[in-house]
Structure formats: C-alpha cells, structure tokens
C-alpha cells in the first residue's frame, strides 16, 4: 500500500488535514476574535494565510474549519454508508416488491435537485451543521444504496452464496457473513472518493446563505466571505478554496489506492 506514490500522496494530504484539525488551537489566534485594525493582511509569517474582512487569522480559521469539514464529511458519509449498505442489501436480496419500492424511493430522492433539498431543509430546521449533514446524507445515500443493491444482486447468484443457502443458512446470516464483507471494500472506496463532493456541498450551501451559523469557520463560510470581498483581497477566497482542493486530492488518491488494494483482480502477485 505504501509503495505507490499516489498512495503516499493521498495519505500524506489526509494526515496533513487531520493534524491541522487536531492542532488548530496552537496557532496563537482565536478563530472568531475580531481585529478590525489588521483586516485583509496579505500572507506573512505572523499570518500564514493572511486575515479576513474582520481581521481574523485565516490560517487558524482554516484549521478549525478542518474539524468541521472532517466532522461533516465523516458523520454524513458514515450515515450514508451504513444507511446505503443496509437499504441496498435489503433491496438487492429482499422480495421483488420491496426492491421496486425502495428503488422508487431512491430515484425520487435523487430526482430532487440538491439545492432544492438544501433550501427546503434549512428553512425547515434553520441553518446548522445538522442541516448540512442531513442534506449531504439525502444527497448521497440513494447513490450508495443503488450501488450496494446492484452488487448484492450479482453476489446473490455466486456459488459461495448458493452453497451457504444449501447449508440451510438463514437470509440474515448470508447477508452478514457472505455478502456484506464482499460489499464493504468497494463501498469504502466509493465513499472515500465522495468525501470531496460532500465538502463542496457544504461550501455551496454557505454561498446560498444556508450554511453553518457564523462565526463557525467552515471552509464553505470562509470561501463565501472571500467571495464577497474578492475585490478587497484575493487571499480569503484562496484560503477557503485551497483546503478543499487538498482534502479532495487526499481523499481521492486514498480512495484509488484502496481500490487497487482491495480489488483482488487488480493485485499483481504473478
């Protein structure tokens, strides 16, 4: 795993973000303390990424933003992962009527434009991290469920599942012992490559004014503030956009190397 350069790059970037999130408090600045005097400062040694329109240190806010990004990313994709896994398996292995019902539900949810979903939900619950997580879950869960359903249906006819049935194993055991372990690998890869999309959804919601409550320093909020004062200084927008790119690169390469390693077919052991 560690030999491919892409794998190293992926792990390195993800580690960078996780470390950033852990040591956010050590930069010596508070993420929300206002300092009007030194607003829109360019990056310097005292302020690695400069300061925003309220004079707050952007590097600190980005690090605190990492906590939110990772939080939203892992909580949201976690829920979608588990929800998608269970619903997908039920749809794939269960009776046909249940399958078409669930499929109908998945497709209807996916038919909803994401922004429409976000708008309706946020007006429902008010802007908060929970709303962002809920939007992300509703936007990604149907996709995972469909993938799991497709794989469950192909695994259903494999000989090791038939032999388990011929032993008299009940359905739940077949799902848990034989089908799920073979699903987890590809699903983890799909989910890890979806994390960047999740982060951009949060950024998009902040842009529409539906994001997290100020002064929470989510990357989307920083980017959105940077957008509003783009003419004053380009740095806040860059400071907001850069971590999103780094996170995306990190998780995507991590996902790809995971895929090469978890998919036995691609393994080249001669």
């Amino acid at each position: 795993m560690l030999r491919e350069p892409m794998g190293l790059l992926g792990i390195g970037l993800v580690l960078l973000i996780v470390l950033g999130a852990l040591f956010a408090g050590l930069t010596g600045y508070s993420p929300s303390k206002l300092a009007m005097r030194d607003r829109f400062l360019d990056p310097s040694f005292t302020h690695l990424l400069g300061t925003d329109h309220l004079g707050r240190d952007l590097f600190t806010r980005v690090l605190h933003g990492a906590r939110i990004a990772l939080g939203v990313a892992f909580v949201a994709t976690g829920i979608s992962f588990i929800g998608g896994l269970i619903l997908g398996m039920i749809a794939g292995y269960g009776p046909r009527w249940l399958d078409s019902l669930l499929l109908l539900l998945f497709d209807s949810l996916r038919a909803f434009p994401t922004v429409m979903l976000a708008l309706a939900l946020v007006t429902l619950t008010g802007p908060s991290l929970a709303a962002v997580v809920l939007v992300v879950v509703l936007a990604t869960l149907p996709g995972y469920a469909r993938v799991v359903r497709a794989q469950t249906m192909s695994l259903k006819t494999t000989e090791f599942v038939l032999s388990a049935r011929s032993l008299g194993a009940p359905s739940w055991r077949i799902l848990a012992v034989h089908i799920m372990p073979n699903l987890i690998g590809p699903l983890v890869i799909l989910v890890s490559m979806d994390i960047p999309v999740v982060i951009t959804i949060e950024a998009g919601m902040s842009f529409l004014g539906l994001g997290v409550r100020p002064p929470t320093p989510s990357w989307g909020a920083i980017l959105n503030d940077g957008y509003a004062f783009i003419r004053e200084s380009a740095w806040p927008a860059i400071a907001g956009g850069l971590p999103i790119i780094i996170a995306t690169l990190g998780f995507t390469f991590l996902g790809e190397t995971l895929r090469d390693h978890l998919d036995p077919r691609l393994r080249q052991d001669g």
């Binding site: 038939l162 032999s163 011929s166 032993l167 359905s171 372990p181």
Partner: protein, 322 residues
C-alpha cells in the same frame, strides 16, 4: 427397500427477461430448463447425471435442495416429500443433503478463513460443541494438514480448495451429497485424488453421491448407475457398465464416440453428432435430438419416441437405437 431419493416428473421453468414483449410478439415467455425428469437413487450408491451444457443437469441438482423452485413434479427424500417446502422447513432436510459446487475456489466465501468456512455448517445448525476438534478431524478426513485452517480461499490451489468444499459437505455427515462437476477445473493428476477421496468417504460413512458431470471417463470409474440428459430430458438411463458396453440412444453413442482417447492413430473418429445443442427458446419438434442425429428417420422429425426397457433398470427413448 425404498430408494433414498425419488424424483418424479420434475418440470422447472425460468421466465425470460421481459415477459410483456415476448407475450406481445408471440415468443415463449419462459423457457423449460427441465422438461419432466424422473429417476431414483439407492442409498450408498453413486449415481451420475451426464450431459452437455444446456442439458439442465445443474438446474435439476439445485432444484433437489430447493435452491431453484420447481414448477411441477415431486422430490421425495428418505420417504418424505421435500419439494415445495418453505425455506425454514427445508433447513432440517438440508442437514441431510449437502452440495459441492463447480468452481473449486469460487464456491468458498472469499473473505472467510478455511476454519470459518468449515465452522459454518456447525454454527448454522447449532452444533458448536468442540468446534475446533470437529474442524481438525474434517481437515484430516480430506488429507489437509491443520495449518490450512488459517489460509484464505485465494491462497489455496484448485485441489486444496476442492478438499475444503468436500470437508464442508461432510461436516454434518449427510446421507446424500450432490456434487456438481467435482472434477471440473482440476488437472488430470489431481482429479484421481478427488475421486479416490470421495470413494473412501462413501465407504467410511455410507454417503450416497449424486454426481453431475460431462466427463464420461470419470463416470465409467465412479458411478454405479448413470443417466444421459439432453435439453432437459433423460434420454437414456441404466447401469454404467451396460451403457458403456451397449449404448442404445443415438446421443449416448455420439457422446461416447466424442470421448477422444489418448492413443494416436486410434481408429479415426467418426463424428456422430453434428452442430450444437439448440437453444431452449425454440425446441425442435419430435425427437429433440433429430437435428443433430446422423441416423434420423422421418418419424424422428414428427413425434417423440416412446420409452423402451431393454433390460431391468435400463431405459431409453429412441426411434432408431444403436
């Protein structure tokens, strides 16, 4: 004494993908994989179902243990009717009937260790007392050293994987083992080992074997009785020796002749069957083998041959037998 397994007039039908289109355009909306098959299996013996791909032999085998639904007909096992039972009712039966599948490595769950694979039958039926002891004994029965328990399927050779699936099948000492192409995917040198192993286990535990294969050489050495299947029907059935010595149905003769011997300049082989097995979507009229048969007569084209019994236990259905 009553036979261990009795299959009478079993018909199995599969719906094809879009029924509406088929019904509108007059095509058949489903295909008949097994078209009325009957045979009996004596306890302790080995019975072979022989046929080429598309003959329905695998479908029939899977139907016996309820993996594939039967449209009509009946399956009796040790005096009890087991066709049409619900999944839960079938669980008891499935202790008595075990299955070995065709792909040596593909029939083992890729993410489980050999130990977990062998523990599965015991866990499913709640006999987990002295689990490790049982597993060790099973590995020994099939000639695998204990350290194989930690290996994973993709780390096994074809032969080793086949031994694991045999061990799994014998875990609960079933009365009947249905082996689907046990020698497929194995080299000739290893096939012998597998057949010897199955013979020893039969002698040791009195297990009855129903073997599904297309390899006539194997059948000649292992099976007591055999049946030849073509397009979902049994065209000839009888003692293995009788059929090898005097095959009557033209398809059986073709099969035997196509079985190339490893002797150069042996009598140059006359091809006794043309073309290939037709698709089940449009079954030929009359005797279904007539399009490929070199000895067909006009009657073969129009009506189905009656079944004849030249000697006890030997039957076939052919208008112009060998």
């Amino acid at each position: 004494m009553t036979p261990l397994l009795e299959v009478t007039d079993v018909v199995i039908r599969f719906p094809i993908h879009n029924r509406i289109a088929a019904r509108l355009t007059g095509q058949p909306s489903s295909i008949e994989a097994v078209a009325g098959v009957s045979f009996t299996l004596e306890a302790g013996s080995t019975y072979a179902l022989v046929g080429e791909s598309g003959s329905g032999k695998t479908t029939l085998a899977r139907a016996i243990t309820g993996l594939v639904p039967i449209e009509s007909g009946q399956v009796d096992f040790a005096g009890r009717t087991i066709s049409g039972l619900s999944e839960t009712a079938l669980r008891g039966v499935r202790r008595e009937i075990a299955m070995i599948f065709q792909d040596p490595i593909g029939s083992l769950s890729p993410r489980l260790s050999v130990r977990a694979i062998l523990a599965e039958p015991f866990k499913v039926h709640g006999e987990t007392a002295d689990l490790d002891g049982k597993i060790a004994r099973l590995l020994d029965d099939v000639g695998l050293s204990p350290h194989f328990a930690q290996r994973y399927p993709h780390q096994l050779s074809g032969g080793q994987a086949r031994r694991v699936s045999i061990a799994r099948a014998l875990a609960l000492r079933p009365k009947l083992v249905i082996a689907d192409e046990p020698t497929a995917g194995l080299d000739v040198s290893i096939q012998g080992e597998m057949l010897n192993l199955m013979r020893d286990l039969q002698r040791k535990f009195g297990t009855t074997f129903l073997m599904i294969t297309h390899n006539l050489n194997v059948v000649r050495h292992v099976a007591d009785r055999m049946a030849v299947m073509y397009l979902g029907r049994i065209v000839e059935e009888g003692l293995t020796d009788d059929i090898f010595k005097a095959p009557r149905h033209r398809y059986t003769t073709a099969l035997l002749s196509a079985n190339l011997k490893a002797e150069p300049e042996a009598a140059s082989y006359v091809i006794e069957a043309e073309g290939e097995t037709p698709s089940l979507l449009n079954r030929p009229k009359g005797c279904e083998f007539h399009p490929r048969c070199l000895f067909k007569r006009d009657v073969c084209r129009t009506d189905m041959p009656e079944e004849q019994m030249p000697s006890t236990g030997h039957r076939f259905a052919c208008h112009n037998p060998a």
